[in-house]
């Protein structure tokens, strides 16, 4: 039985307009997040994954950014078209977000307990005392010892790992339906990362929120995520269940990415590399954006952009190789002298 859909993103497009031209950072993203599920969005720098997550809550710096198309449906309500007032009620309340840099994402002059409590007072109408008590409770819940003492401290008195826990406490204080985590462990040591991921999984079991997990680390994806969307040049090029993605990556980019990872438990002589570089978001090619780097590219790839098509029940891929036209294209090759 499929779980309830909590968030649905349809054809989301966020562009940045400047005198350099228009950068199509997010260019037609579709995905679905279900209750209690973790969706990973993975890609390298510049692919648009962070911008996608910021677009959901309309946190894009604007100007120069702008959501030019698409819908973000929270149980049916479109966040893109919503008024500012309505959206503010959702932020930190029904959809929360945590960011990459715990060192700079907390206000340096306000005690951390207060930074959690203010969201509680605002969204849940708690009194000052109630909010403070609940805030201390949350700090304990994320595994910080002596929470009453810590709540009164300012961020600089806490380590990076603790600050990230505070961010999580802050984000989950109002028991949101969706948690967007934008590279939450990238800036942390690996042993601290393990702790943080553990807490997130734990709290997800308790609270039942859906998590959108943005990362470039495929290992983290394998551990945390149920579903995975691979992004490249502003688009999703593959969407699969996490456990299948690594056994059977469909898109040549995903294959290249997995191949270029040094493996912790295996010796490799040479790492697989992907030739070339990412195209500029100001100037995407007409056809498939990965074509110029793809070892399998054919004419059709250069001429026309492939759509994200359903490969089987649980996977989607954006690649001509998996389309009906592909066989024709190959046939043409053989026939020509």
């Amino acid at each position: 039985m499929e779980k309830e859909v909590v968030l649905e993103v349809k054809n989301l497009k966020t562009h940045f307009i400047s005198n350099k031209g228009t950068a199509k950072a997010v260019d037609g993203i579709d995905f679905v997040l279900r209750k209690g599920e973790t969706l990973g969005i993975v890609g390298e720098s510049g692919c648009g994954k962070s911008m996608t997550s910021l677009s959901i809550l309309r946190l894009i710096p604007s100007p120069p950014g702008k959501i030019v198309d698409g819908q973000v449906l929270l149980k049916g309500q479109d966040l893109v078209k919503m008024s500012d007032e309505e959206l503010r009620k959702i932020r930190g309340n029904r959809i929360s977000m945590i960011f990459q840099e715990p060192m700079t994402s907390l206000n340096p002059v306000i005690p951390v307990g207060e930074q959690i409590a203010e969201a509680l007072r605002l969204h849940q109408g708690l009194s000052k005392k109630q909010a403070w008590d609940r805030s201390v409770e949350m700090i304990g819940l994320v595994g910080i010892p002596s929470p009453e003492k810590r709540a009164k401290q300012e961020p600089f008195q806490l380590s990076g790992g603790m600050r990230q826990r505070i961010m999580i406490a802050m984000a989950l204080a109002c028991t949101p339906e969706v948690l967007i985590a934008d590279e939450p462990t990238t800036a942390l040591d690996v042993t601290i990362q393990a702790q943080i991921l553990e807490i997130m999984k734990d709290l997800q079991k308790k609270i039942g929120m859906g998590i959108i997990f943005i990362t470039h680390d495929l290992g983290v994806v394998a551990e945390m995520c149920d579903q995975v969307g691979v992004m490249y040049a502003g688009q999703i090029v593959e969407h699969q269940e996490a456990k299948n993605l690594f056994n059977n990556p469909l898109h040549p980019y995903t294959q290249g990415l997995i191949g270029s990872l040094p493996k912790l438990y295996e010796d490799q002589e040479e790492l697989q590399i992907i030739e070339g570089t990412v195209p500029s978001p100001y100037d995407y090619p007409e056809g498939c954006r990965f074509a110029e780097r793809c070892p399998f590219a054919q004419d059709i790839c250069i001429q026309k952009q492939p759509n994200l098509i359903q490969f089987d029940e649980n996977s989607k891929v954006r690649c001509w190789k998996y389309s009906d036209e592909w066989q024709d294209s190959l046939a043409k090759e053989v026939v020509a002298p």
Binding site: R91, G92, T104, P108, M170
Partner: protein, 306 residues
């Protein structure tokens, strides 16, 4: 914190020594013999020489200086050459007036500056922002005495809304305080604006937005508290130029403050008065700086603990 304050208080001694030495030497180099001025027109050479002996002006310089310093540490700033009254008495009368003027000026600097700075920062590059910044630029560029005379002309002479000079009623404070505070307000406005703009681009403001906090909460609770930190330093520095400005403003508006006292005393070569006035002004400056530093640390506990 306590040790910090103690350390700073101890530093006052070298300040006193340094200031008095500098003033002393400068007064020695300025042409004009105080004895001649005191004795008046047409005094005989003997009278003048006698006077010089009485005033101890013929002693070697270092002796004059050392005896002066000795007296200072006992609270005796000497007597005015003009009327032989204790310098300390005169200062005690005038100091409160200058302090009042300084206080109201700083209030104007802070309040006007902050409001203007916040208005600008909240809507950067808008009409209100640009106009505020242009006015601020003019404010910084105008010489204070020119502004003072202009305001006096418009509001006192032409419109007759406010008194021209003196220090008798509340109305008397308005124009001088504005004149003195305007330049500082402009600087504070610009500083507040740039500090706010920088703060607003920080990650923690993005976090505040992501929590769904309302706009004014983000600005006043989250942004301003951080943005004010460098502004406090600027206000502290402003105090220094404020003291200097009192000289001009007190002269223009005929206010009996220390600034005017120092200017008049220089003109009459009344060395003890000059020395006393400058010394007291310096001490006030040092204390205000200490206060600002303490406040800065209170606002910004990270520095204290590191």
């Amino acid at each position: 914190m306590f040790l910090f304050i103690l350390k700073r208080l101890v530093q006052i001694v070298p300040v006193i020594l340094g200031v008095t030495l500098v003033v002393f030497l400068i007064m020695q180099m300025v042409p004009g013999d105080p004895a001649v001025i005191m004795a008046g027109e047409g005094a005989s050479k003997e009278t003048i020489n006698e006077l010089r002996e009485d005033l101890g002006l013929n002693r070697p310089l270092h002796e004059q200086y050392l005896s002066y310093i000795g007296n200072v540490f006992q609270g005796d700033l000497g007597n005015s050459l003009k009327n032989n009254q204790p310098v300390m008495d005169e200062i005690m009368v005038r100091l409160p007036i200058t302090m009042e003027l300084a206080f109201f000026s700083i209030m104007i600097t802070i309040v006007l500056g902050l409001i203007a700075g916040i208005i600008s920062a909240v809507r950067p590059y808008s009409f209100s922002d640009i106009s505020v910044m242009v006015v601020a630029l003019i404010g910084i560029s105008l010489p204070s005495f020119w502004l003072g005379l202009l305001l006096m002309y418009v509001f006192s002479v032409k419109l007759q809304w406010l008194p021209v000079a003196g220090w008798d009623s509340t109305a008397h404070i308005i124009l001088p305080a504005i004149t003195l505070g305007a330049g500082g307000a402009a600087i504070v406005a610009r500083m507040t604006r740039s500090s706010m703009l920088e703060v607003v681009g920080q990650d923690y403001i993005r976090t505040a937005k992501a929590k769904g906090l309302k706009g004014h909460v983000i600005i006043y609770k989250h942004a301003l508290r951080n943005a004010l930190i460098p502004v406090i330093t600027v206000v502290g520095l402003q105090f220094g130029s404020l003291l200097g400005g009192t000289v001009l403003v007190e002269s223009v508006f005929a206010i009996n403050g220390i600034g005017r006292m120092i200017v008049d005393s220089i003109r009459t070569r009344d060395i003890p008065m000059v020395q006393g006035g400058v010394l007291v002004a310096s001490l006030v400056f040092v204390f205000v700086n200490l206060l600002v530093d303490v406040m800065y640390r209170v606002f910004n506990k990270r520095i204290d603990l590191n």
